[in-house]
């Protein structure tokens, strides 16, 4: 709570940025999306664990299990796969919607770098009447640059301990 809220114009600008990013991702405009990322971007999501509150021992899984743990090269590889035209599971397109809410923006120690909290829900329409929905929280670092705001780091937390979709052919 002690974190300091960013100026209103920064808040509004980043809120709009996140909505725009969501629309680009839903539309598979990956090149436009890449233009929103820093070259040193780090994009991660890890598998949630259900543990007892009182169980603080660390002999359990000292290593975090990643769903995503990507640098720019890894992101480019995922996008390259989509572009091969061989990803049969995405043909026909599974209509997808990236629903963003609860955008919060805070200043950080670093000038022109902002901490951004948000929630994302991904809705997908699959074959016929089948639907999938995944909910996740996100904590981002965005840098303000001459060419606009760029994503430096995203840490997402999936709100399920069992993934309820047969693939994650998309980004959060």
């Amino acid at each position: 709570m002690s974190a300091q809220q960013a100026e209103m114009d920064v808040y509004v600008a980043l809120q709009r940025q996140l909505y725009q990013e969501a629309r680009l991702l839903s539309a598979e405009q990956y090149d436009d999306w890449l233009a929103m990322l820093c070259d040193e971007v780090h994009y991660e999501m890890e598998m949630p664990q259900r543990r007892l509150r009182e169980d603080k021992t660390n002999n359990w899984a000292p290593i975090k299990t990643p769903i995503f743990n990507d640098d720019m090269a890894a992101l480019l590889m995922r996008i390259a796969r989509f572009k091969t035209g061989f990803v049969w599971s995405e043909n026909p397109i599974n209509a997808i919607r990236h629903i963003v809410s609860n955008v919060e923006v805070f200043n950080t120690e670093i000038k022109d770098q902002f901490l951004v909290h948000s929630i994302i829900e991904v809705h997908r329409s699959r074959l016929d009447a089948e639907r999938k929905r995944l909910t996740a929280g996100r904590q981002d670092l965005w840098n303000k640059t001459a060419t606009g705001y760029k994503l430096l780091k995203r840490t997402a937390v999936l709100d399920d301990s069992v993934v309820l979709d047969s693939n994650i052919n998309f980004f959060f």
């Binding site: 999501m45 598998m47 664990q49 259900r50 543990r51 007892l52 169980d55 021992t57 002999n59 359990w60 899984a61 290593i63 975090k64 299990t65 990643p66 769903i67 995503f68 743990n69 990507d70 890894a74 590889m77 995922r78 390259a80 796969r81 989509f82 091969t84 035209g85 061989f86 990803v87 049969w88 599971s89 301990s161 069992v162 993934v163 309820l164 047969s166 693939n167 994650i168 052919n169």
Partner: protein, 448 residues
């Protein structure tokens, strides 16, 4: 259930689709297969300290696997013996005791009922606590780090159950002196798919790799894997084998000693590790396994629901949740000797290739789901489907146990997996289940 006879035909590699959708057949599977077979519980490395536990499933039954004070391991149904509440809701952790949330009965992590609130005031000390300990599995045993259990006290020993498969398991479990460990936690995914379909797939389906995974192979393949090519344009079966006939267990193996990392975009670090340690492994496993198999792309299947890919360091178990649903749990398994950096690199790559957002794994779900769905329609469910590739190619090799066919692309293994499925489903007890721990015998049986 003699009617099962016409559901699976070993000779022609035929299956009736109804085995993927019929609720009665599934109920029978829970009893005849998951109620009898040795099922993977956990890796010893996941529960190192006394009180370390993991919550997992045997079929649809929920079990707690707990490391004991004496370093032994016990497995209990995760349910209170009083009114049947779920005992532990955590996925894993460390606990001295398990206290039920409903009335506070307290069980030691050895399963003993230690504390009963108001035992005197309410039970008048008439409750024989020794009769209300947690329900243990019938048998539990480890094979080189892998912990298995069965609900059937008449089941053969784990060693006999694994039989000749042990020769292959050792290529991973016994290659390095300190053995293996699972790192991280399970990546859990629920799929609307019959549980046999992924097992069939990984047991022997090298055929789908080049096509179903063409996109992933295009972007991430770093070296040739057992003669596979993107789009299945060509294939070279000379450098790889399919092996089955081992009590339902099966192996798919390239023989080059490196291709296990062929799906890692940048395998150098892993390949260096292989070559640095190959001498040691040859010492332990001999020339053939040490040179040609250790580090190769290998698919191992332990019937009914455990599969491993040494080399790729991929480890997976399937938990059925109904005729048309299962959960798959995936881990990275590594050699303890590996450096932390290498372990992290491997975990990242296992996740990136076969995790919930894995470049490869994300290609399989829709296909398997579709097969499940297409086994329900009134007309479609009457259709037969086939695993008849390279029938007649089965032979034996002096250098390795099991029934062998050449190449990764060959449906021999699926036929043997379904034969075992039928044997288990038709058997009234373990006494009726044939053992194939001796190859001659096995071949004899096929001859019939």
């Amino acid at each position: 259930m003699k009617k099962l006879d016409d559901l699976v035909d070993f000779k022609t590699g035929r299956q009736k689709r109804v085995i993927y959708s019929d609720p009665a057949i599934y109920e029978e599977e829970l009893e005849k297969i998951f109620g009898r077979c040795w099922l993977f519980l956990t890796h010893e490395s996941q529960i190192k300290e006394p009180g370390d536990f993991i919550r997992t499933f045997m079929g649809e039954d929920e079990v707690l696997v707990v490391r004991q004070k004496d370093d032994s391991i016990k497995a209990f149904l995760n349910t209170c013996t009083h009114r049947g509440n779920r005992l532990c809701k955590a996925d894993h952790g460390n606990s001295r005791k398990f206290v039920c949330n409903y009335h506070g009965w307290s069980f030691g992590f050895d399963g003993k009922l230690n504390g009963v609130p108001l035992e005197k005031e309410a039970y008048n000390d008439q409750l024989d606590k020794s009769k209300f300990g947690l329900i243990e599995v019938a048998q539990i045993a480890s094979y080189k780090g892998l912990v298995f259990a069965t609900f059937d006290e008449t089941a053969p020993s784990l060693e006999d159950y694994l039989g000749e498969m042990k020769w292959y398991l050792d290529i991973w479990l016994d290659a390095m002196p300190e053995g293996t460990e699972l790192i991280g936690t399970a990546m859990k995914v629920e799929l609307p798919v019959n549980w046999k379909l992924p097992v069939e797939n990984v047991s022997g389906d090298g055929y789908h790799l080049g096509w179903a995974h063409a996109g992933a192979m295009t972007v991430s393949s770093s070296m040739e894997v057992g003669g596979l090519a993107v789009g299945n344009a060509t294939a070279d079966n000379s450098g790889a084998v399919s092996v089955a006939g081992m009590n339902g267990h099966a192996v798919l193996a390239a023989l080059d000693g490196q291709s296990g990392y062929g799906f890692y975009p940048d395998p150098k670090m892993a390949v260096d590790y292989l070559e640095e340690n190959r001498a040691t492994v040859i010492d332990r496993l001999g020339e053939y396994r040490g040179k040609r198999m250790w580090g190769s792309q290998i698919n191992m299947t332990v019937f009914p629901n455990l599969q491993m890919l040494p080399g790729l360091n991929w480890f997976r178990v399937y938990h059925p949740k109904g005729p048309g649903k299962f959960e798959m749990w995936t881990w990275a398994m590594v050699d303890k000797e590996m450096s932390d950096d290498l372990k992290q690199m491997i975990l990242n790559n296992v996740s990136r290739t076969f995790g919930p957002a894995g470049l490869f794994d994300n290609d399989d779900g829709d296909n398997l789901q579709a097969i499940t769905e297409q086994s329900r329609g009134w007309r479609t469910r009457q259709m037969d489907i086939y695993t008849n590739m390279a029938i007649g190619g089965e032979h034996s090799r002096d250098e390795m146990p099991g029934v062998v066919s050449e190449g990764l692309i060959c449906e021999q293994n699926q036929r043997y997996v379904y034969r075992r499925w039928l044997e288990m489903m038709q058997a009234d007890s373990w006494a009726d289940v044939p053992s194939y721990n001796n190859l001659q015998e096995a071949r004899a049986t096929e001859a019939k």
